[in-house]
């Protein structure tokens, strides 16, 4: 079993990360009744004997002594990280895994990337190497950050280059929270575009997420729960947004429910690599199957079901409904409508008591309403994991490489151009050593190239499908 290291950068990254570790512990606690440190837990946690001082306390088998998360927490202001260290999860993290500063990046990508990058490069490298050494077989880095701020966006993307140079064989999965239209950070378009360039060049796979979509999903759930339309009550703990049973008892902050959705996304993504199932899918298979061309590595994700009713017998209808929902635009984690755009590839990761025949039946049912690119008409990757998430009997994560990400990028470019034309706030960036106007121009052109590639693929939609002439051989 392979291990993964989570690197959470910036305020958003750390808050999501905190929810993630909470849910991960809950999930493993539910599955692992005997408290033995097994391969599944080792993918995200180390088993440490806290009585031993220094680094030598790793225990590889036997009972769980004390679990430490395989994580590196980076933030340039202390507020969020301090809160984590004083909260119920303080024992899961090691003070040696943190990098903090005091003043923050001031919502400025250049400060995060250039100033703090240079300042903390050595420390970052050291912490990453340490966490890699603790792994038997490190497969993947998960980076969680936001695109609109300064630290997450700037330092988070600086990290990607460092990881690529230092660990070229390890996959870099990035969960990026994109700013929505009504974002409260004025300079978020600048930060996002500058960060996009780095994502284009140095990430293996990016899962874009958008606050507005998360918020819409939460509202929908609240509406369903409170409207009383449902005949029976909702199963406790089954809301994709709930953290019942986890260490944190109440929803203290407004973003908690939204962060839980993202945390669930990461758990479901790695579930097939951690738990057993009849059709396993490891993390390297995600990159292999869903990224046909190196530039096009943005995957639109959707999670269903959002809640489970207290019905014990799940009729087939409900199972099929789960599959249909995964393709509806209300369930996507960014503002996108994959059904009306072109699919390059699609992965369906199912958890729980679902068999291969259910999977095949639903694929055949949904295929006619989806448009796949001509050379990948059967572009499906499937996986079945037998362990369902806590509180659910089954769940589905759909990852799509689809041209519906294009509008998000185009809108981002629009907002950027509106600010840039007036040169608003530009001086904050240009006064940082190493930043010039050319950085901005390069970033925009990198984004434009990406949008153009998606455009070209979309253009093939209307063209008739021709089979190319095959090689002819002499008989």
């Amino acid at each position: 079993m392979t291990q993964s290291v989570v690197v959470q950068v910036g305020q958003c990254g750390n808050q999501i990360g905190c929810c993630f570790w909470d849910l991960a512990l809950r999930e493993h606690a539910a599955v692992n009744q005997k408290g033995i440190y097994d391969e599944a837990i080792s993918s995200f946690f180390r088993n440490v004997d806290t009585r031993v001082v220094g680094d030598g306390g790793n225990i590889s088998k036997g009972k769980i002594c004390s679990l430490k998360a395989r994580a590196v927490l980076i933030d340039m202001e202390e507020g969020v990280v301090n809160e984590i260290l004083q909260g119920p999860l303080r024992d899961v993290f090691d003070s040696k895994q943190l990098i903090t500063d005091i003043s923050g990046s001031g919502n400025n990508w250049a400060v995060g990337h250039k100033v703090f990058g240079r300042l903390y490069q050595e420390q970052i490298l050291e912490k990453l190497r340490k966490s890699a050494e603790h792994c038997d077989c490190l497969q993947c880095f998960f980076i969680i950050h936001s695109m609109g701020g300064g630290t997450g966006s700037g330092l988070g993307t600086f990290l990607l280059k460092v990881l690529e140079d230092e660990f070229p064989e390890v996959y870099r999965f990035v969960t990026s929270v994109y700013p929505s239209g009504e974002d409260d950070v004025i300079t978020s378009p600048y930060n996002s575009i500058l960060a996009m360039k780095e994502l284009n060049e140095h990430a293996d796979c990016v899962l874009p997420i958008d606050n507005q979509s998360l918020f819409d999903i939460i509202s929908k759930i609240d509406l369903m729960v409170n409207s009383g339309k449902l005949g029976t009550t909702i199963k406790p703990k089954s809301l994709v947004t709930s953290s019942a049973g986890a260490l944190k008892k109440q929803h203290q902050k407004p973003f908690d429910a939204m962060n839980n959705i993202v945390a669930n996304l990461l758990l479901n993504l790695t579930s097939s690599a951690r738990f057993e199932g009849s059709l396993n899918m490891d993390l390297n298979e995600i990159s292999m199957n869903l990224v046909p061309f190196p530039q096009l590595h943005y995957l639109v994700s959707s999670l269903t079901p959002l809640y489970t009713l207290a019905d014990v017998n799940i009729p087939t209808r409900r199972l099929d409904q789960m599959f249909s929902d995964a393709f509806s635009k209300d369930h996507q984690l960014i503002r996108a409508d994959p059904k009306h755009s072109l699919y390059l590839a699609c992965a369906l990761m199912v958890r729980g008591n679902v068999q291969v025949s259910d999977l095949r039946r639903n694929i055949e049912r949904l295929k006619p309403s989806l448009q796949f690119i001509s050379w990948n008409q059967e572009g499906w990757k499937t996986s079945l994991c037998s362990v369902p998430p806590v509180g659910h009997s089954h769940s589905l994560l759909a990852l799509a490489n689809n041209t519906c990400v294009k509008p998000t990028f185009m809108e981002l470019r629009e907002r950027f151009m509106r600010l840039y034309k007036k040169k608003a706030h530009l001086h904050h960036y240009l006064q940082i050593e190493g930043m010039e106007e050319s950085c901005f121009m390069e970033a925009v052109s990198s984004l434009s190239t990406l949008i153009e590639e998606y455009n070209q693929l979309d253009a093939t939609r209307s063209m008739p499908v021709e089979d190319l002439p095959r090689l002819s051989v002499a008989v």
Binding site: N289, V291, F293, L344, Q355, K367, G379, W380, L471, V473
Partner: protein
């Protein structure tokens, strides 16, 4: 290779290797092909049969077509025979014949194991003999793979049904063999939905005319067939239908092309059962489809960077395509 050597040393008389793998994934297909190559190098006198699982047509792995053509082309060079099982066909058998509502992989694997058992369980070496066949793998290869260009074998079984239906059915050899023969010539994957319109053409036609006529009629020409009968009164079974020269190519006489193995002992829960292993045009269409899809994807250069990262270049792809187009053409012109 050390593990394999240990097992080989435990054998009194090694007839060969049976390699079980899929074509769509990474380990089964890639490492399986590599292991087969190594066996060819180290144990060149032993026979190798690869049992390969043909993936679902609607896709279970996105790059399955690439993996399949790379695997098949490599296996064609180093293996002696390829026994193919198609996921789609077995899935249909589970659904239609076995009446399983929620089909899981263990159901599918059970059907596959049954098919393999019906071929490889012991049979008597001769009519009326009490000795078991010593070398089924060797004899199977000898009978079914007369020419190295034609290595693709398919399996058909009859009967195949759920326990409940079994209680209400009786079988005769005549009935079973009639169905099996029609399954062969109409290229039917299971007992249900057989096309009874397909008939063998007149054997008096010149070869070229026969080929095009066969194509029109969807007639499945065989190179060689092996029928295995298990059950009561097996000596009374009449296999004349399988010895008709019209079923076979012109360059192999039916007496060489057709073989039968028999045993009185019933197999599994079936009082009488028959299996057919056939080197024929069974797999022509699936192979052609996979090569076509892989070619389309290759033309757009999708996913190629994932393979070049690990040392497979575009030339390797082209070599694979060339080899497989050759195989397709050869089978097509039987």
């Amino acid at each position: 290779m050390n593990l394999i050597q240990k097992e080989v040393e435990k054998c009194d008389c090694l007839s060969g290797f049976f390699i079980i793998m899929s074509m769509a994934g990474g380990t089964g297909s890639g490492l399986g092909a590599f292991v087969t190559q190594n066996l060819q190098d180290h144990y060149s006198n032993s026979l190798k049969m690869n049992q390969i699982i043909w993936p679902y047509g609607t896709g279970e792995v996105i790059v399955q077509n690439y993996n399949s053509i790379l695997t098949l082309s490599h296996l064609y060079r180093s293996s002696d025979a390829l026994l193919v099982h198609e996921n789609d066909a077995v899935h249909k058998i589970c659904a239609k014949l076995m009446n399983i509502k929620q089909i899981s992989f263990s159901d599918i694997n059970q059907v596959l194991a049954h098919q393999l058992g019906s071929v490889f369980q012991p049979t008597y070496s001769m009519e009326g003999s009490y000795h078991y066949r010593r070398n089924p793998l060797g004899e199977l290869m000898e009978n079914l793979v007369p020419h190295p260009e034609f290595k693709m074998l398919g399996i058909r079984n009859i009967p195949q049904m759920s326990e409940n239906s079994l209680a209400y059915s009786t079988f005769t050899w005549a009935g079973l063999l009639k169905h099996l023969r029609q399954m062969l010539i109409s290229n039917s994957k299971m007992e249900e939905g057989i096309d009874w319109q397909v008939r063998p053409p007149l054997s008096r036609l010149p070869t070229l005319g026969k080929v095009s006529l066969n194509r029109e009629l969807h007639f499945n020409t065989s190179i060689a067939n092996l029928v295995i009968l298990r059950g009561k009164d097996v000596h009374s079974a009449d296999l004349g239908g399988f010895k008709d020269p019209a079923l076979y190519t012109s360059w192999l006489a039916p007496v060489n092309a057709f073989n039968v193995w028999k045993t009185q002992r019933a197999f599994s829960k079936y009082e009488k059962s028959a299996a057919l292993v056939s080197n024929s045009q069974f797999l022509l269409k699936p192979l052609d489809t996979i090569v076509g899809k892989a070619w389309n994807m290759f033309a757009s250069k999708a996913y190629i960077h994932q393979y070049t990262k690990f040392g497979i270049e575009e030339e390797d792809f082209l070599d694979s395509f060339t080899l497989l187009e050759q195989v397709v053409a050869s089978y097509c012109n039987l």
